[in-house]
């Protein structure tokens, strides 16, 4: 590399000169002719006379010598702008007889060109190709273009033009040597058309056609050559063409290519439109058959899910490419994406890769993102605007699901995601959400995962891999035969020991084998016995070392470009790579070309490496410090180019920390975007980095709040810690109070018992008097958390009895808490209802609370038999609209509980199943899972599916049975054990000492009734009746019919013949309530009484049957049928009665009746089209 600026002259094209990169003004045409003439003569002295001839031809001026001198002097000044006058004879020296040019051999493009073409002759094909490409890039047009036709230029121009023609031929000849026969045919045809009299071009064309297995084409080319030569020149082809013809006819082996290889350097557009079949896809017949079958079935409306797994380099990506190729050939839309370590911090990065092409057209975008899909819009917006309503995941997932449905409704879709182990969590959730809802969609999902590594999202990945519908493909290492095939394709027929060494050294790993063969091909290694040791030597290296070995043998520009691409990741395009590598674009373009020919890069949608391992190798080859600086520079370059905050942030995450306020701002903006996309984990990473920048002052508190709030969704303990830091840093009391409430709400779920309570109390004490509403809110949290954590009552019910005052949010929070306390005491139902109604009034709590206190208030109303109306629908709609994940989960959970209590068992089960899926997909565990397990257990028991209930109980044993959820589980378990006839176990379950919070109100903790049943079954009737009486007495005080009725019925049953009064009262209380199943049970209990007259018993039992069927309560049905049988009654109609109709079925059929189509109904009810179709089909089948 020259450090001194030097003069460079260009004569290939228009004459031009640069000095240190700047273009020089060379003056007028005549003055420039002087320079041109000197260049032509290179280092020979050119006489003044000859120069005059060049400049003026045969009409020289009066004093040519003087004029020449003036030209030369001007030229000297221009060519050496930095030299003083005396030194200016450096470039153009004066000699006695004339002038001579004194320039280094690399100063003139024509000289470089000539030297490069010469030197290429002695190089290995890969080197020769590089050299020739470099040389040809110097060619910018006809030499000495402006003097074309002048006699003094003609000879030199002809010579250079001939050299150019030869270089182009040699270049193609070299590519033929490298095995690119198929690819160069087009270029050769063009060359022939340009100059059909150059026999060498015909020879190369013929050879290329022959090697591309187009023997007929080859002979036809020879015929054309013969005709052309005869017509134009009247001569026969020369000896070279004649010999070639003879060899072709004899199919001489000497014509075979020395080392054919697969060409990777097709133009980008062609690749993305129609992926070329990877010809080195060997040994994969089984996998391809499977993929072909599934793609084929897609056209028949059959859905599918394929999971390809295996170690790095085994060929998973190849199979995905094959799947895409098959799909494209079958008119199926292909959506593809690839996870990458760099982009893990991009929220929905993989999802955006999948859909960006589909939604990039504004017209299509509007159609695709309409209706239920519209909530997914923020995912595809570059910058999150203020109007980005959605801040959460649930609604976005649902929207993305609908985007998928809308696409699949146009034509079948294949979704291919490679390297899902590196996908961002948000995208993985989308995939998990999708594969559970594939039924009935024309969608084939093909995912590939690298095995043998730890991943942050193991649970989600396992969920995908273990999906019951999945087809798993595990490509095996290549066989020795396959290795021989690959060796033959790359290097020619290999000697057996050579092939065996290739196979052994790579253990049949296709990537390693391909890279090994590329390395060997680069070096021109022949696959013979004497090179076995070369195979061992090169093949001993790991893929990464192989790649760096190859790269180090390439020119520095190429290495720099490769590193830049490795650092930039998805953002890599030519201008950015050039800017980062600090090289001119032309040189970088050439370097990228080399890299793509060398199978290091591949040009798909953007520049990517042929394999992530290759990228890792190059990336990790950069020393750590340099890597960080590269990222720093990448961030600057991308910023300048107007990239989004998110794109820049990817690099800032890895750049050195500098304490820059601008960096903090960028990271916050990127986090904001991520949050608006529902990618909380991505936002957490960005904000944590912002905190480390470091950031100080008020900005620090702001970052802490943002970080803590978003962390509470993914990493509660850190969220609490950061929010506490922010709380300490803030001054404004109201702001602090709101933050304190957030902290306490999170502490309930993540901190040890007592922490939330004492924090809330301290925060309340800190408040100035004027903030009374905030204080009520904090006291509400202090009390509810104390209860939930099972603390002694005197530790959370401190101070004077709180009074609800005013109508603020805090007052409503306090009302909710106090109503719950009244519920638990079980004495003042009216007071509890009043407080709970006040709490829920105007849905204020839905807006400020994540789903703790409004759930509590709703539960109070439920257990008090108060009307909730469409509260759950409103709550769910709000959760969907704001994306409140916890809220959506809570609604599903507690609505399931409400449905269960109303005897709508199928609906309850569906709600609870939805809740369970949400827990799994978001990895939420802990407190909600015990509630969900307890409710599910109860529903299954009531359905009479004791087997499912038992297995549900088994898995619930793995949960921590603590707090209220633990108590609910214990009661549900006891109920199941009773139904199983295991009274003794049930009694044990109920009497094992534990410290669950005590609840006085049997409406919320009916343990006495359960224990009474157990005691009775064990013959301890007196104790049982006493307990049952106690429960009835307590419930009479509470007064909610749906709780008292069952308790009375239970008491009546225990008292046997003396209990009929209790049973009658129970039935009376329950009729007309919404507790249908309990009503059926009361009817059954009474109807079974032996002493009841036949005429009274049979209608009761028939009514039982009808009610129980509507609920789907199998055990009750069985008991009613048997009781009727005992009374000699027929129950034949049991089989004829239409299957029960769930509320879901009813809503589906109702909406369909209004003329909506399947998709519209599904969107309205948050269902999948497949479910809607199934519901309609079963309804039709059930109709008479």
């Amino acid at each position: 590399m020259d450090h001194e600026p030097t003069v460079r002259l260009r004569v290939l094209g228009e004459l031009a000169a640069t000095f240190g990169g700047a273009v020089l003004d060379l003056g007028g045409r005549r003055q420039r002719a002087v320079l041109a003439a000197l260049v032509i003569m290179r280092d020979q002295v050119v006489s003044a006379e000859r120069l005059a001839g060049c400049v003026w031809g045969d009409r020289p001026p009066a004093n040519p010598a003087g004029a020449l001198q003036a030209y030369v002097s001007h030229l000297r000044r221009r060519l050496q702008p930095e030299a003083v006058a005396r030194q200016r004879d450096g470039v153009i020296a004066s000699e006695a007889t004339g002038y001579v040019l004194r320039l280094a051999p690399d100063s003139v493009d024509a000289w470089c060109f000539e030297r490069a073409v010469d030197s290429a002759a002695g190089l290995a094909p890969a080197d020769a190709l590089r050299t020739l490409d470099d040389a040809l890039r110097l060619w910018r047009g006809p030499p000495y273009a402006e003097y074309v036709g002048e006699p003094w230029v003609e000879a030199e121009a002809l010579r250079l033009t001939e050299l150019h023609a030869v270089a182009r031929e040699r270049r193609l000849e070299t590519r033929l040597e490298l095995g690119d026969a198929g690819v160069v045919i087009g270029e050769l045809e063009a060359l022939v058309a340009e100059d059909p009299l150059r026999e060498e071009r015909w020879r190369l064309l013929t050879l290329a056609l022959y090697r591309a297995q187009r023997q007929a084409g080859a002979l036809a080319a020879l015929r054309r050559a013969r005709e052309t030569l005869a017509e134009e020149l009247g001569v026969d082809p020369g000896p070279a063409l004649r010999a070639l013809e003879a060899e072709i006819l004899a199919q001489s082996p000497s014509l075979d290519a020395p080392a054919p290889r697969v060409s990777m350097d097709l133009p980008a557009r062609e690749v993305s439109q129609a992926p070329v079949p990877p010809t080195d896809l060997v040994d994969r017949a089984r996998e391809i058959t499977e993929l072909r079958r599934m793609v084929g079935e897609l056209a028949n409306g059959r859905t599918g899910f394929v999971f390809v797994e295996g170690p790095a380099g085994i060929g998973k990506s190849r199979l995905l490419v094959e799947a895409m190729r098959l799909a494209t050939a079958g008119e199926v839309r292909v959506l593809s994406a690839r996870g990458s370590q760099l982009e893990r911090s991009f929220g929905f990065g993989a999802v955006r890769q999948l859909f960006e092409a589909a939604v990039s057209d504004p017209a299509a975008r509007d159609t695709l993102l309409a209706g239920a899909a519209s909530v997914a819009k923020p995912v595809f917006e570059e910058m999150a605007g203020d109007d980005a309503v959605s801040n959460g995941s649930f609604a976005v997932l649902h929207g993305l699901y609908w985007l998928t449905v809308n696409l699949a409704n146009q034509r079948p879709v294949v979704i291919c995601v490679d390297d899902i182990q590196w996908c961002d969590s948000a995208s993985l959730r989308y995939l998990a959400y999708l594969v559970k809802r594939l039924e009935g969609l024309q969608v084939l999902v093909v995912l590939a995962m690298r095995t043998g590594e730890q991943h942050p999202d193991d649970a989600l990945l396992a969920d995908l891999a273990l999906d019951p519908s999945v087809t798993v493909l595990q490509p095996a290492p290549l066989s020795p035969d396959a290795a021989a095939t690959l060796v033959r394709e790359r290097l020619g027929e290999g000697a057996d020991p050579f092939v065996a060494a290739c196979h052994r050294m790579t253990s049949g790993n296709p990537l390693l084998l391909r890279q090994l063969l590329r390395a060997l091909a680069d070096e021109g290694v022949r696959p013979d016995v004497s090179h076995v040791d070369t195979v061992r030597a090169v093949g001993s290296r790991a893929v990464s070392a192989l790649v760096t070995l190859r790269l180090r043998r390439m020119p520095p520009t190429v290495t720099a470009a490769a590193r830049a691409v490795a650092v930039l990741g998805e953002a890599a395009d030519l201008p950015t790579v050039a800017a980062l590598a600090q090289q001119p674009e032309e040189e970088v373009a050439a370097a990228l070309d080399v890299l793509s020919r060398s199978e290091i890069l591949t040009v798909e949608r953007h520049l990517t490496f042929v394999h992530p391992l290759v990228r890792d190798a190059i990336y990790n080859d950069l020393p750590a410090g340099e890597r960080a600086l590269h990222h720093d520079r990448a961030a600057q370059v991308l910023s300048r180019q107007g990239a989004t905050a998110e794109q820049v942030a990817v690099h800032l995450l890895r750049a050195p920390r500098r304490g820059s306020a601008a960096t903090v701002e960028l990271l916050r903006a990127a986090a904001d975007t991520a949050i608006s996309r529902g990618a909380s984990d991505a936002a957490v990473g960005l904000l944590r980095r912002a905190l480390e920048e470091p950031v100080s002052g008020p900005d620090r508190a702001r970052v802490l709040v943002e970080l803590g709030r978003v962390e509470t969704q993914v990493d509660g303990p850190s969220g609490v810690a950061h929010l506490r830091d922010a709380y300490d840093a803030l001054d404004e009391p109201h702001e602090r109070a709101l933050l304190a409430m957030d902290i306490a709400r999170t502490q309930v779920f993540v901190s040890p018992p007592g922490v939330a309570t004492s924090f809330a109390r301290a925060a309340a004490t800190d408040l100035p008097d004027r903030l009374d509403d905030d204080r009520q809110g904090l006291i509400a949290l202090q009390r509810i958390t104390g209860y939930m954590h099972g603390l002694p009552a005197d530790s959370y019910r401190t101070g004077p009895a709180p009074e609800v005052s005013g109508e603020g949010d805090g007052a409503r929070m306090l009302a909710a808490t106090l109503s719950y306390e009244l519920l638990r005491e079980g004495q003042d139902r009216a007071g509890a209802v009043r407080l709970a109604r006040f709490a829920l009034e105007g849905d204020r709590l839905l807006a400020v609370d994540t789903g703790l206190l409004w759930i509590v208030a709703a539960n109070v109303l439920l257990l008090a038999d108060d009307e909730l109306g469409d509260f759950w629908d409103r709550a769910l709609a709000r959760a969907h609209a704001t994306g409140g994940l916890f809220a959506a989960l809570s609604v599903n959970l507690w609505r399931g509980f409400a449905q269960w209590r109303r005897g709508r068992l199928e609906d309850a089960l569906q709600s609870l199943t939805d809740a369970a899926e949400q827990q799994r997909v978001w990895g939420i565990s802990g407190v909600t899972s015990t509630y969900a397990a307890a409710f599910t257990l109860g529903v299954l028991t009531d359905l009479g599916d004791l087997e499912a209930a038992a297995s549900s109980l088994d898995s619930a044993r793995g949960l921590p049975w603590v707090g209220e959820g633990g108590r609910l589980l214990r009661e549900a378990a006891a109920r199941l054990l009773l139904e199983q006839g295991r009274a003794s176990d049930a009694l044990d379950e109920l009497t094992t000492p534990v410290d669950y919070p005590q609840v006085a109100n049997p409406a919320w903790s009916p343990w006495r009734g359960l224990m009474a049943r157990a005691l009775a079954a064990l013959g301890r009737t007196d104790e049982a009746v006493a307990l049952a009486r106690e429960e009835v007495a307590l419930l009479r005080r509470w007064g909610a019919p749906t709780a008292l009725g069952p308790s009375l019925r239970s008491l009546g049953q225990l008292r046997g013949s003396e209990g009929s009064a209790d049973l009658r009262e129970a039935l009376e209380i329950l009729s007309g309530t919404c507790a249908a199943l309990e009503e059926a049970r009361a009817q059954l209990a009474l109807g079974r009484s032996a002493h009841l007259p036949h005429g009274e018993a049979v209608p009761l039992l028939r009514a039982t049957l009808a009610t129980a069927r509507a609920c789907g309560a199998l055990q009750v049905i069985r008991d009613a049928v048997s009781a009727l049988g005992q009374r000699g009654e027929s129950t034949a109609e049991v089989d004829d009665v239409p299957a029960r109709i769930t509320s879901r079925q009813r809503r589906v059929t109702d909406l369909t009746a209004t003329g909506m189509d399947v998709n519209e109904v599904a969107q309205r009810l948050f269902l999948t089209p497949g479910t809607v179709r199934a519901v309609l089909e079963s309804a039709q089948g059930a109709a008479p």
Partner: protein
């Protein structure tokens, strides 16, 4: 065979694991047994580690790591010359240079630059494309560096001298891990040592040497049944002494085994063969060869051919093989010497040697080369090389067969030895003129003061 006991890794070798991008194999590793095998399978060594560095920097790392745990280092290319090292590798790292495959031919300057892993066959082919020839040894599978450092007898030797004299630059890593590029201008001592000094002064990573403008030659072989050995070899001796320098030839007694790598018309036969390459056109070459053709050979394959094709002229095995070789340099080859040769190696001698060949020296080989080097000429007019395979009787029997021949030729032998073709027991000092020997020892001591490198002839090292 030189047996070695317990192939257990000294724990110190573990420091090498992971170096060279993973291309280091320790005993017990899956590829260790394959990696330790040299071309010449007669050497069955169990080195402490086998490393395949691809760059000088990796060589440097290996040397420093080996030194840190007191292991020696034995550089090796293809391992054609492996036997002398056998038995000395247990506490050594076998540093194989096969991954350094760089190969560039500069047609304008008529030079080649090769990495230490380059093979002659590749150089010959590449140079041939631009009508140049290298002073390559007879087998295409032989490594360039190993055979160049020790001398290098080519088919053009009588016209252009030893290959080592054609070396213009050498790049190497010294024992302390420093990288040196030695030329006539800088570190010229090391370049001098590289010109025929064998090894022991560093790990050579690349060589640059001259190529010669030879594109077509007249080459081939003449063959007779070995019953004509006496007559043919005597006549060859007379002819060889006065033949022009444009011809270089080899005469040999060949007991061709029935092995697949041999052409069918040779397989299983006992022959006397003369191979030769004449750098001349057909007419001139015909005149040169006339005296030999007058002996009426049964086979005559001489024809005009490309210089590149002579790499395959001699019938050498390409696949790794176990062979034993030893040689003796003769001042001249009178009839009585031919008698002694035929009596010990010819018909009725009972010798089982694969071949005994007589290489024609003289010409440029007998004059000091224009460029100074440790070995700048060959002492003698004929090099007799005995090569044997273990055909069941054991290596001791092969060695004995060879000793019979060399002993019988002692009356005509010179004081010198050609170490590239000598067996393990040869006194290393005989490889060079006395004046060179001391300088060579000094250079080695400077480059490797603590004796890191195993010399190819360690037996002679103490002397």
């Amino acid at each position: 065979m030189v047996p070695e006991s317990a192939p257990l890794a000294p724990s110190g070798a573990e420091v090498l694991r992971g170096l060279c991008g993973g291309a280091v194999h320790l005993p017990g590793d899956p590829a260790y047994d394959e990696a330790r095998l040299p071309w010449n399978l007669q050497a069955d060594s169990h080195p402490a580690a086998v490393a395949y560095p691809a760059f000088a920097s990796e060589v440097s790392t290996v040397l420093r790591a080996a030194a840190s745990v007191d292991l020696n280092v034995a550089p090796q290319g293809t391992g054609h010359g492996a036997p002398p090292l056998a038995g000395h590798l247990r506490d050594a790292v076998l540093l194989r240079t096969s991954a350094m495959t760089e190969l560039r031919v500069d047609a304008t300057r008529r030079t080649a630059r090769v990495g230490a892993g380059a093979l002659w066959g590749d150089v010959v082919e590449r140079a041939g494309r631009v009508q140049l020839a290298a002073l390559h040894t007879s087998s295409p599978g032989v490594g360039v560096v190993g055979s160049s450092l020790g001398g290098g007898l080519s088919w053009y030797a009588r016209q252009y001298g030893l290959q080592c004299s054609a070396i213009t630059a050498v790049e190497l890593v010294l024992a302390d891990g420093t990288f040196v590029r030695a030329t006539d201008q800088a570190d010229s001592d090391l370049l001098w040592a590289a010109r025929g000094g064998g090894g022991g002064f560093g790990v050579v990573t690349a060589l640059e040497f001259d190529l010669f403008p030879v594109s077509t030659v007249y080459a081939g072989k003449l063959a007779w049944d070995w019953t004509h050995a006496q007559r043919v070899l005597t006549a060859w001796g007379v002819w060889a002494a006065s033949a022009p320098e444009t011809v270089t030839s080899v005469a040999r007694l060949f007991q061709a085994p029935d092995l697949p790598w041999l052409p069918a018309d040779v397989r299983g036969r006992k022959l006397v063969i003369v191979d030769a390459v004449v750098v001349a056109d057909r007419d001139a070459a015909t005149r040169v060869l006339a005296p030999l053709r007058a002996l009426r050979p049964e086979v005559d394959t001489f024809h005009e051919c490309s210089a590149a094709s002579v790499a395959d002229l001699q019938l050498d095995p390409t696949a790794p093989t176990a062979v034993y070789a030893n040689s003796v340099l003769l001042d001249d080859l009178p009839e009585r010497a031919v008698d002694a040769l035929v009596a010990t190696a010819g018909q009725g001698s009972g010798s089982d040697l694969l071949f005994v060949e007589l290489r024609q020296l003289g010409g440029a080989l007998s004059r000091p080369a224009p460029r100074a080097g440790a070995l700048d000429r060959m002492d003698g007019s004929v090099l007799v090389l005995c090569v044997g395979l273990n055909q069941g009787a054991g290596w001791a029997a092969v060695r004995e067969d060879a000793n019979h021949v060399t002993d019988a030729l002692q009356p005509w032998a010179t004081e010198s030895a050609y170490l590239l073709m000598a067996d393990a027991d040869v006194d290393e000092q005989r490889g060079w003129p006395a004046s060179s020997w001391q300088r060579l020892l000094d250079i080695r001591a400077a480059a490797d003061p603590h004796g890191l490198f195993l010399s190819p002839h360690p037996a002679a090292k103490e002397s």
